[in-house]
Amino acid sequence: MSMITQITMVAVVVAVTCALPGVFLVLRGTTMVSDAITHTVLLGIVLAFFITQDLRSPWLMIGATLVGVGTVWAIEALQQTKLLSNDAAIGIIFPLFFSIAIILITRYAGNVHLDVDAVLMGEVAFAPFRRFVFMGMDLGPRALWTMLVILILNSLFIFLFYKELKLTTFDAAFAAAVGFSPVLVHYGLMTLVSLTAVGAYDSVGSILVVGFMVGPPLAAYLLTDRLYIMIALSIVLAIVNSVVGVQLAFALDTTIAGMIATVTGFTTLLIFVLSPKKGLIKASLNRRRELKKIDRQIKQAQKS
């Protein structure tokens, strides 16, 4: 398999894996919590690395995922004090966790073979060099397999708990009344978001993961009012963005993850402006029509 094919495959799998939980993050309005998670998993990676001394250890992924879930818990604990606004709580917790991680890495740079730049910005281009060798067989890029496993977990979660996710997102009070704990579903989703962020960091980098989670679902949200179509469209858009992004990055010889994030932002903005259902143009046309209607009504009222 050629280099570019392998890279494209990794990019597509990462993008789809991120887009799936992203659908529900966008609907719940909690994408900035996922932004916080993608930063704080760095602390988890560092701490777990101190213990395991192995960047490939599965414990590293589990530890980092737990720190991601812990971030959600910490943010919610702060929010419950009612002493600061919800978004300020996010803005206090994640820089703190992240700063501690950076201080640890810098301080013990000699011992840690961890590159902060790589964690934050990632580079899919290196993915083909890190192989997954099982019983002497070369099975392809390691990142591909890691992300495939997470993709299957995410798909399974959404497939099995589709009804529960839909219900708790739409009407949490009703969900609780009929016996589906919104807290349980919320933490289930956040665990997967953390796991996805941890899995994606070395190919995409943690900051750009957010774009992968928000962009395609947001664009899909603007195009349809059916949840299952929104999920399907998110997947399609995630694939298109990553394929185009990889091609452009190769043509311009630049960072692949950054290029995919740029393309994602571009397509989402384009759909935002042009979407025939809920786009900017449509919305302003609607508003103008409403205003005219009111004007007419006022004039009629004045006449009579």
Partner: protein
């Protein structure tokens, strides 16, 4: 140990950097108060990330590291990002949260694309542009501090000048409009001031952490007072102390990054305030709750005795 500290305090580089981060903390404490009260804390996070492509494009255009021009580029990018976020979240069904995340990550991605292109370009000096991502306070020069001081003073003067307008607008934008203050002008002025504050901090604290400096001091200050003027002064003082202390701690030993240390110090102030504020802190609340609960349980017991 004490000798070492005295030596450090007399060190010229330390003085320059501490003064710079102190000013920066003061400024972001004051300006951040408006952002926090308007419940737009995370706007700062999105805007700081969004500034990166502005720096990159400015460098591509002028081909040298002229700080003021790079910051001008950052400012234009930041303002563009503000515009996109506001249009998305106000004119359509898109939630503010989604708009912030999208702009944050796609602008940052574009920034990385441009920075990589610059690094691949043999003609361009690398110019340490990637320092903007994490910030490098130790590289602060005297003229950088002067820039922060001059621009900062202008911003603080604007706050004093438009005090009444900002106050009304922050508290109740609709009411401000009925009073005849143009909310568009006030809002544009405020967001421009926030963007400028962020950009002044990019070089020393970096894209990722500058938002903490904007949020932390004002959240801490809010716990000690209910008055806007006092809150702003306290936020400024906390910001200043955090900047100086963070720089101090990071100078005590090798390999302690300044930006993250300042953030940890700010967070320390935040948690101290949240826990120990006498009026509404977590501890004060807890004791008041216990007291109420005791009185309440007494009532309940008398109620049950009455029943039995």
């Amino acid at each position: 140990m004490i000798d070492q500290i005295v030596l450090l305090l007399n060190d010229y580089t330390f003085q320059v950097v501490a003064l710079g981060t102190g000013f920066l903390g003061l400024l972001s404490g004051v300006i951040g108060t408006f952002a926090t009260l308007r419940k737009e804390s995370l706007l700062g996070d999105a805007l700081s990330h969004a500034a990166l492509p502005g720096i990159g494009i400015a460098f591509l255009l002028i081909q040298r590291k002229e700080l003021s021009l790079l910051l001008l580029g950052a400012m234009i990018a930041g303002l563009l990002a503000t515009l996109i976020i506001q249009v998305m979240s106000r004119k359509t069904v898109v939630k503010l949260d989604s708009a912030l995340s999208l702009v944050l990550s796609s602008f940052f991605g574009l920034g990385l694309v441009i920075l990589t292109a610059i690094q691949n370009n043999p003609n361009a000096r690398q110019a340490g542009l990637s320092n903007f991502i994490f910030g490098q306070a130790s590289a602060m020069l005297r003229r950088d501090v002067q820039l922060i001081a001059v621009v900062g003073s202008v911003l603080l003067m604007l706050v004093v000048l438009f005090w009444k307008e900002f106050k009304v607008f922050t508290f109740d934008p609709m009411f401000a409009r009925t009073l005849g203050f143009s909310s568009k002008i006030t809002e544009t002025l405020l967001s421009t001031m926030i963007v400028i504050t962020i950009i002044l901090g990019l070089e020393s604290v970096g894209v990722i952490l500058i938002s903490a400096l904007l949020i932390g001091p004002s959240v801490a200050a809010r716990q000690w007072t209910d008055r806007l003027s006092l809150m702003m002064i306290i936020a400024g003082v906390i910001g200043f102390i955090s900047g100086v202390m963070g720089t101090f701690i990071s100078s005590l030993a090798a390999r302690i990054p300044t930006g993250p240390t300042i953030v940890v110090v700010v967070s320390f102030f935040v948690f101290i305030s949240l826990f120990f504020s006498p009026k509404r802190g977590i501890l004060a609340n807890h004791f008041a709750y216990k007291k109420r609960q005791r009185a309440f349980m007494k009532q309940i017991r008398s109620l049950e005795e009455g029943k039995g």
